[in-house]
């Protein structure tokens, strides 16, 4: 459990954003793992199984508790990003090289948590969980076009937030 608890917690907290809820979900993941201990103890893909269960439980949690508020929480929330400018990364490979790991983590995690749910969740599923666009659309119950648009806007918004604190980002207003 110690080997995987950070990964499971991270997977969950990046999706649900709330640490207490992510801890509850991580607990449920390990209880399910305990129920499937015989299968997992000999499986080389136990980490992948735990990550998938953490993702599924987090998405279930989000859908269960936020569906009814979807209209209200997303009401007009795209307006700020409608005209998101193009962003160019001067040196993405060396980005944050001068910043230590903890500071980098806090910085990017903070930027990520500032994104609205409808942008952050597909972005996390695409970049961290490496799900394809069509699977994300299916899992979230939205159209493929919306997923692509939301991820594109999320990247632009994330870059904008990161650019405020780092000189290696240049924002090119188009």
């Amino acid at each position: 459990m110690r080997k995987y608890q950070d990964m499971v917690f991270t997977t969950s907290v990046r999706l649900v954003r709330n640490e207490a809820q992510a801890e509850d979900i991580a607990q449920e993941v390990f209880i399910k793992a305990h129920e499937n201990f015989e299968m997992l103890s000999t499986s080389p893909s136990a980490g992948g199984w735990l990550k998938t269960v953490a993702t599924n439980l987090s998405l279930n949690h989000l859908q269960r508790y936020r569906k009814r508020w979807k209209f209200f929480s997303e009401f007009g929330s795209d307006s700020a990003e409608e005209d998101a400018p193009a962003v160019e990364f001067a040196a993405p490979d060396t980005f944050f090289d001068s910043v230590d790991s903890d500071e980098r983590r806090a910085w990017v995690e903070d930027a990520l948590s500032k994104l609205p749910d409808h942008q952050r969740i597909p972005l996390v599923l695409y970049h961290f969980e490496e799900l394809p666009y069509d699977e994300i659309a299916g899992r979230l119950g939205v159209s493929l076009a919306k997923v692509k648009t939301d991820i594109l806007r999320a990247r632009a918004a994330l870059a904008k937030i990161l650019a405020r604190g780092d000189a290696s980002f240049r924002i090119l207003a188009t």
């Binding site: 950070d6 990964m7 991270t10 193009a86 944050f96 983590r105 632009a156 090119l172």
Partner: protein, 157 residues
């Protein structure tokens, strides 16, 4: 955003995100998991889900359910053919006489409403429907604005 910039942005964001280390799980997570496992293990079998019941109890439960269902169906068939069943159905019908009265009341009200609607100018009706729709939309907008204001105020604090 042109496709070139879009691809560059995707690659750059992917690079930044994938280099993020995992977050540290709360120190109490392991203890919580073991405590919850112990709590669940201590529960008696009848308070656990069906899949955790002993196999003999599960088989007994299924057999008992099937037997109870069969007995109920057989009992109903037997009872429905007796004289007392007719007496019972008659007494039930008497006790539910108010339903007939309610049905008559609804149909009378419906007839009066139809007459009233036919006599009302259609402009008035459209006006009333429009007013209700506007009030509903205004209420939804106020609710949404209040929810967002409260949510963002909570997130900001």
């Amino acid at each position: 955003m042109n496709p070139y910039n879009s691809d560059k942005l995707e690659a750059a964001i992917h690079g930044v995100l994938r280099r993020l280390p995992d977050r540290k799980a709360p120190a109490g997570l392991e203890g919580r998991v073991f405590a919850e496992l112990a709590r669940r293990a201590a529960l008696p079998w009848w308070r656990k889900s069906f899949s955790h019941w002993p196999s003999t109890v599960r088989m007994g439960f299924v057999a008992g359910s099937v037997l109870a269902g069969l007995l109920m169906v057989l009992g109903l068939i037997t009872l429905s053919g007796t004289q007392s069943a007719h007496q019972v159905s008659g007494s039930i019908a008497n006790s539910l006489a108010w339903l007939t009265f309610a049905r008559d009341l609804v149909s009378t009200t419906e007839g009066k409403a139809r007459i009233l609607l036919a006599a009302t100018p259609s402009v008035w009706l459209y006006g009333a429907v429009g007013t209700v729709a506007v009030c509903y939309a205004a209420l939804a907008a106020i609710g949404a604005a209040t929810y967002r204001a409260v949510t963002f105020a909570r997130q900001a604090s």
